[in-house]
Amino acid sequence: MSSPLVEVRGLVKYYKATGFLARKAPPVRAVDGVSFTVGKGETLGLVGESGCGKSTVGRTILRLQDATAGSVFFDGSDFLALDPAALRQARRKLQIIFQDPYSSLNPRMNVGNAIAEGIEIHRLAPRAEIPGRVAQLLEEVGLDPGYAARYPHEFSGGQRQRIGIARALAVEPEFIVCDEPVSALDVSVQAQVLNLLADLQARRGISYLFIAHDLAVVRQIAQRVAVMYLGRIVESGRTEEVLARPAHPYTKALLSAVPVPDPETKRLRIILPGDPPSPSNPPSGCAFHPRCPDPDKDERCTTERPVLRQIGGIEVACHHAKVNR
């Protein structure tokens, strides 16, 4: 493979505890050493349950939050180390769309101005051409160009997500972090937005980091997938391989818990006990061991933290993972 567009290395984000007993409390290890690459025109799905740190990864690599450690290589330099002037230039190429576009759109700014804002800031078009660009962008995301004069509250959830996408596209990015972009949408609308994202990628060659909790959605859009548990990647590889032959017991359980709209499908049902643990007090050894149903689980799992290793075509962090089980 040619060199990746984005390379994240050893990303760490700790949150200090705040409040009365803050000095005694351990930090919350939201992201605890995450590395991955995203190729040009590729989608990497980042999957996990609430609190696993997947959204923090997305926000940290775009410097919406400061990383505790790690680097993000983009265009030959470390994005996390850029000075303010260089950052401003580079930011244009890295964009984000959120789960709830309503909270990221200014309610008092009409849609046309919201989309034009980025074009103006980065001086991507002469002033006179901006309305034409905005109309083009609205059309590209499947909205009527006449909507430019309307305000966010006049739109449905699906339409707002299209506006959020148009706004990200306005600055011609090469990489977009999609943070749960369809999880607030009804299924019929979710399908529209997933198709739109796929079309944009095919047309513009954009790369996505697609953050989601729904494995079926990730399978639909991502060529590769990384599964996170408590601040770390526990398994990654080509989506088809990981989902067809998951090697980590957590991935297996996650997969078996996906509801399938087909009563004929007979599947292995793995019900994990308990809840995901707290990142302020992660279990010793393998963070998954208190919930792990694997019969091979042993002493080592409770004391030694497994590192990612290659098994078949995928990477997995489990002492007992085997090929093709």
């Binding site: 349950e49 609430s50 449905s156 699906g158 339409q159 009804d186 299924v187 019929s188 609308v189 979710q190 399908a191 529209q192 997933l194 198709n195 796929a198 909790h213 729904d214 494995l215 079926a216 959605v217 399978r219 639909q220 989902l243 359980a253 996650l254 997969l255 078996s256 818990a257 996906v258 509801p259 399938v260 709209p261 087909d262 009563p263 004929e264 499908t265 049902r269 019900i271 994990l272 006990p273 308990g274 809840d275 995901p276």
Partner: protein
């Protein structure tokens, strides 16, 4: 066998300035003892209001229109006085909601809240009620139930809160449990736990369940029958096996085609065009006709009644007639 619950021509109106809103508009269904009926639909279809109406909990200014009928084992629920209504609410019919945090009282312990429900329906001492609360916590599978009795809701995870809500609902040994999106706010691995719990309780107690959900995946392999709701009406009703084997209403087909799958070949999703109309402006004729790929000219003007498409399988669509010819 006479049904446990019968709903006939349920209509709910919300007075608003200008257009009248009728989010539920002529819903009829019945539910037998011990049966699980799933009502499936997207946001705004009226499924949650239908559930609330069963216990006369429609929030004001909403009103159940005259002519609507709700019978619980022959008792006309809509004609009951306040005292008689209390003998049904939470007693013969229990209810659980999407977000247990907003239904639990933050300043009372788990034991207080379950005991309250026990004592509201049975004349027992506080000590006996607390003992019963412990039994219920064990029944719903809360780890360390003795310690959990004295916890407050904020000390519990989302999954445990939902278990507590279920314990409260079970305290009165209801014949019918209305579960309104009970797992929507939960992570998939926790959703799997709660669904398994509901399956187990239903089998053990012979309790009927009305499951309100947007997720066809949790319906398959669980519900006895399914009713699909669109724009304030049931558009298709069938046994679960028949609905998934022969989905007949174009809306049901559209929903199924929109869902990304976890198995099989990944193909482009087929979304339903457009968006759900607002309840102030239901379309004329068949309410789905503006989005329907199979609409006939008459669909714009003539409202289809529920027509048979097979044994115990009906839909509100003129195609049912065409199919019979």
């Amino acid at each position: 066998m006479s049904p446990l619950l019968e709903v006939e021509n349920l209509r709910i109106t919300f007075p608003s300035s200008g257009a009248t809103s009728r989010p539920v508009d002529g819903v009829s269904f019945s539910l037998s003892k011990g049966e699980l009926l799933a009502v499936v639909g997207e946001s705004g279809c009226g499924k949650s209001l239908t559930a609330l109406a069963l216990l006369r909990l429609v929030p004001p200014p909403g009103q159940i229109l005259p002519g609507s009928v709700i019978r619980l084992e022959g008792t006309d629920v809509l004609a009951l006085g306040a005292a008689e209504l209390r003998s049904i609410r939470g007693r013969r019919v229990g209810m659980i909601f999407q977000d247990p945090m907003t239904s639990l009282n933050p300043v009372f312990t788990v034991a207080d809240q379950i005991s309250e429900s026990v004592r509201a329906h049975q004349q027992v001492s506080k000590r006996a009620a607390r003992a019963r609360a412990l039994e219920l916590l064990q029944e719903v599978g809360i780890p360390d139930p003795v310690e959990r009795l004295d916890n407050y809701p904020h000390q519990l995870s989302g999954g445990m809160r939902q278990r507590v809500m279920i314990a409260i609902a079970l305290a009165s040994e209801p014949e019918l449990l209305v579960a309104d999106e009970p797992t929507t706010a939960l992570d998939v691995t926790v959703q799997a736990q709660i669904l398994e719990l509901l399956d187990r309780l239903r089998a053990a107690r012979g309790m009927a369940v009305l499951l309100i959900t947007h997720d066809l995946g949790i319906v398959a392999g669980r519900a006895d029958r399914v009713a699909v709701m669109y724009a304030g009406r049931l558009v298709e009703e069938a046994t679960t096996a028949a609905l998934f084997a022969r989905p007949s209403h174009p809306y049901t087909k559209g929903l199924l085609a929109s869902v990304p799958r976890i198995t099989g070949t990944v193909t482009r999703l087929t979304p339903i065009a457009g968006t759900v109309p607002p309840p102030t402006a239901w379309p004329s004729g068949c309410r789905f006709h503006p989005r329907c790929p199979d609409a006939l000219p008459r669909c714009a003007t003539d409202d289809p009644p529920a027509l048979p498409v097979g044994e115990q399988h009906r839909m509100r669509c003129w195609l049912a007639e065409a199919g019979q010819r």
